[in-house]
Symmetry: C2
């Protein structure tokens, strides 16, 4: 992770891409969201979605995996360049989580986030607070998921 | 699902209970949230969490499964009693999703929701809008997850 001081409002980061196969959609939904339009093509065709589509929690969970992997790769690259890596705390929650379009079989979702606010933390002065809007966009350029989260990011000047 | 007219602000529903085993926590996290404190006991012991704990998305996904099963059982019981079952639309998003305490190995989480607002829908007059606050509470009585969502619920008077 880059340090608080090295991040700017308006910066965007592309964290990864995922293709939602039918097997992938059904495996998640059978375990966590067994509504018919997430587990059965025939029933889904008759539903208001019109076809099998991914659970919203699946779309969100894939974001999490890509975010973790992206951050890990970034940290490794920084360490290889001999740069100091900043710590980041876990997000304590999410706001405005919206599923804007269904994710259908073989949809390809590009995940990204944009820094929308940076501010100091009164409670933890070693850290600053970074607020980001995360998004998933399908192959037609349509937003399918959007949410806002805030996390503690280590400050360079006061790091030990 | 009960009809819009048959639901009251302040009603609470207990939807189910889940015990988060170590195997369960690690299986989800390896697939969707491979941060060390979700997949490795030794690394987790050294983290700020102090022990292996579940991904927040796992805690949320289990809520979804229990909610789907609960609604299905409710609908079946209503149908057996010869009652008409109301339709419910999917939630289009969630607000104020908060992970308030870590969920550690063998924690037992009770999931529930409370109806916090009922209002008519201008865009879809066949439905009303039900807003609920969903929660997960551990065996110590501590809230571990909380979020708010709104869904369309069919109205009895205007159902076809």
């Amino acid at each position: 992770m880059r340090f608080f001081e090295d991040l700017q409002v308006g910066e965007t980061f592309t964290i990864g891409r995922h293709t939602f196969t039918a097997a992938d959609i059904k495996a998640f939904a059978k375990r966590f969201d067994p509504q018919l339009f997430h587990v059965d093509e025939v029933a889904a065709a008759k539903s208001h979605f019109g076809a099998l589509c991914a659970s919203g929690w699946h779309t969100a969970a894939v974001w999490m995996r890509l975010a973790v992997e992206y951050r890990r790769h970034q940290d490794e690259a920084m360490a290889e360049r001999g740069e100091r890596v900043a710590a980041i705390g876990p997000a304590l929650g999410f706001r405005e989580l919206k599923w804007l379009k269904p994710v259908y079989v073989d949809d390809v979702i590009d995940y990204a986030y944009e820094v929308i606010e940076m501010r100091e933390s009164n409670s933890r002065p070693r850290f600053g607070l970074m607020t980001i809007r995360s998004t998933g966009t399908n192959q037609h350029g349509e937003l399918v998921i959007s949410f806002v989260s805030t996390a503690f990011v280590e400050r360079r000047d006061v790091a030990p």
